[in-house]
Amino acid sequence: MIPLSWYLIFAAGLFSIGLFGVLARKNAIAILMGIELMLNAVNINLVAFWRYREPAGIAGQVFAVIVFAVAAAEVAVALALFISVYRRRNTIAADQIDLMKW
């Protein structure tokens, strides 16, 4: 049997790696990949808690499915934004997209 804490620590590690990617990377698409890793860590926690705490009620899995949908929507909009920005400014380095900074 795998203890629940192993899943939690694994998810915390995945989340922190994603957090580092979001905070440290320059390229906007790389930042987006960090966000994907963080969302996956959240999903692991949801499913692990479902399996260990409440296998009869299915709420954890439902929540994970909703997170999937939100992640898909987020990626679609974000990549459209990046392509639009790239077309206008010829860059998607996050520190050079400073149009709204004064």
């Binding site: 049997m1 795998i2 203890p3 629940l4 804490s5 192993w6 899943y7 939690l8 620590i9 694994f10 915390a12 590690g13 995945l14 989340f15 922190s16 790696i17 994603g18 580092f20 990617g21 905070l23 440290a24 990377r25 320059k26 390229n27 698409i29 790389a30 987006l32 960090g34 994907e36 890793l37 996956n40 692991i44 499913v47 479902w50 399996r51 260990y52 296998p55 299915i58 709420a59 899995q61 439902v62 994970a64 499915v65 909703i66 999937f68 949908a69 992640a71 898909a72 929507a73 679609a76 990549l79 459209a80 934004l81 392509i83 639009s84 077309r87 010829n90 998607i92 380095a93 996050a94």
Partner: protein, 168 residues
């Protein structure tokens, strides 16, 4: 006593975390995206170990089949900077590393020290299929969030087209 399933979990978790590290550190964005595919596959295997078969399949179909491919498309469309000429991290990367380490230690300690973390694993009730349960829940108790998710997807679809539209 370390059982075979525990060894399997440690190997899968180690590979997944290694792939995730490569995602955030590799210089070439295409390589990053391919490492992301590997990491997402590792997460799918973790779902399978947790006996969430439907989610494991959905993870492969949606994350690897749709999201990762979309990301690779976007990298190709912004190809000129895909090689990431110049530094791949911004000047605050040391702070980011510190924040990530603190987050890991705090999250890991906080979650693993709770009494909840020592819940024993109860075998699943074999009379009810979790997939049937999930399907029924999505159209009864959780119908409103489910419908809201579909509205959100539609809005994202239209929004993405509008944003990426090239005005002549």
């Amino acid at each position: 006593m370390v059982t075979s399933i525990q060894i399997l979990f440690i190997i899968i978790a180690g590979i997944t975390l290694g792939c995730a590290l490569m995602v955030v550190t590799s210089r070439n964005l295409v390589h990053s995206a391919l490492w992301l595919v590997a990491a997402l596959f590792g997460v799918a295997i973790v779902f399978a170990i947790l006996q969430a078969g439907f989610l494991a399949v959905v993870q492969v179909v949606i994350y690897i089949g749709a999201i990762a491919v979309l990301i690779i498309f976007a990298i190709m469309l912004t190809r000129r900077i895909a090689q990431d000429i110049g530094p791949r991290f911004n000047e605050n990367w040391a702070w980011a590393l510190a924040v990530a380490l603190v987050a890991f230690v705090a999250l890991g300690w906080m979650l693993a020290s709770q009494p909840v973390a020592h819940t024993p694993l109860v075998p699943l009730d074999t009379r009810v299929d979790p997939v049937v349960l999930l399907g029924a829940a999505l159209v009864s108790k959780y119908m409103l969030p489910f419908e809201l998710a579909s509205v959100l997807l539609l809005a994202a679809l239209i929004g993405a087209i509008v944003v990426a539209w090239e005005k002549k």
